[in-house]
């Protein structure tokens, strides 16, 4: 099971990238009581029967992920949220895309820590591919609000394969989060 909420974000975002979606949105809303994220893609989507099976940890269609045959992202997330009284929704339409929403109560003793958000977002941005990723982040306390477009940040920091790019992206996200402030 994942140690941080950020791990779930990376995992579900990777699904969105692998779904073939060209446009992916990651929205993060945080209050003192809750941490919510929503990931939306316009990839291949899933039929109702595949959605049901996607939540079964023992199911894989053998080819849903390039390069690997199993996936535990959605079942892990759902199970983690059920255990702490969180909210989970999965909406998907075949050929249209998928939307996953997860809301973690932050006052439950078993809620995993959020983890370093700048590291999480760096990892999300660094998945290879030509897709656009739009990240919005809102936190009420401390007040944080910013928006990142993957295309813009790669244009500024350089292509992913260029040495040093990941370091620059991390620095940028940290400065938005003000993690070392």
């Amino acid at each position: 099971m994942h140690a941080e909420i950020g791990d779930f974000i990376v995992e579900i975002l990777q699904n969105a990238v692998e779904s073939g979606g060209r446009h992916i949105r990651l929205d993060i809303f945080q209050t003192p009581d809750s941490f919510e994220f929503q990931i939306q893609d316009n990839g291949k989507g899933m039929s109702q029967s595949i959605q049901d099976r996607a939540l079964d940890p023992f199911y894989s269609d053998g080819f849903k992920h390039p390069g690997r045959r199993v996936g535990l992202g959605l079942p892990f997330l759902k199970q983690a949220l059920e255990a702490i009284g969180g909210e989970f929704t999965l909406e998907s339409t075949e050929g249209m895309g998928t939307q996953v929403r997860a809301k973690f109560p932050l006052n439950h003793v078993d809620t995993p820590p959020v983890g370093s958000l700048s590291l999480t977002l760096l990892t999300c941005i660094a998945f290879p591919g030509e897709h656009e990723l739009i990240i919005t982040r809102t936190c009420s306390d401390p007040a944080i609000e910013y928006r990142i477009l993957r295309s813009e940040i790669l244009d500024a920091a350089g292509p992913l394969e260029e040495p040093g790019t990941l370091g620059l992206i991390r620095e940028y996200v940290e400065s938005q989060e003000d993690e070392h402030g």
């Binding site: 992920h65 390069g67 590291l119 760096l122 660094a126 400065s175």
Partner: protein, 131 residues
């Protein structure tokens, strides 16, 4: 830290690129690939990636590209990292935490010797095809 703008980021990149061009005597690129599947993430692959970002800066290694991929396949040995460079065989290292990341930089990339205790070779071909 003041908030960086995208223009600040461009300037930083240009500064780093100039430093790189001045030093670039041999154009041999090293690739470090971090596996980021479910088990990799659960085992701390994000922290491993971040450790490499730190060490590349610390050692000023400007000819090393760092990227991430899905699961490389050796789930029992996560976090898993592949290193490709000329003059060395392609190696898959397992159980790469921050300390091992440092050894990979110092011994494999700079010293051109294997970090023996963490070599896991390649996964079985039926797990990963076409790698």
């Amino acid at each position: 830290m003041a908030k960086l703008s995208l223009d600040d980021l461009r300037k930083l990149r240009d500064e780093k690129r100039q430093a790189l061009e001045m030093r670039e005597t041999e154009n041999k690129t090293v690739q470090i690939i971090v596996g980021m599947g479910t088990s990799g993430i659960a085992a701390g692959a994000k922290q491993t990636l971040s450790a490499f970002v730190n060490y590349l800066q610390e050692y000023n290694l400007t000819n090393v590209s760092l990227r991430q991929t899905g699961s490389i396949g050796l789930d029992h040995a996560e976090p898993v990292v592949e290193v490709r460079m000329t003059g060395m065989p392609n190696i898959i290292y397992g159980k790469v935490d921050t300390g091992v990341a440092k050894q990979i930089i110092e011994r494999h990339i700079l010293g051109k010797e294997l970090v023996d205790e963490h070599v896991f070779d390649r996964p079985a071909p039926d797990i990963v095809e076409g790698v």
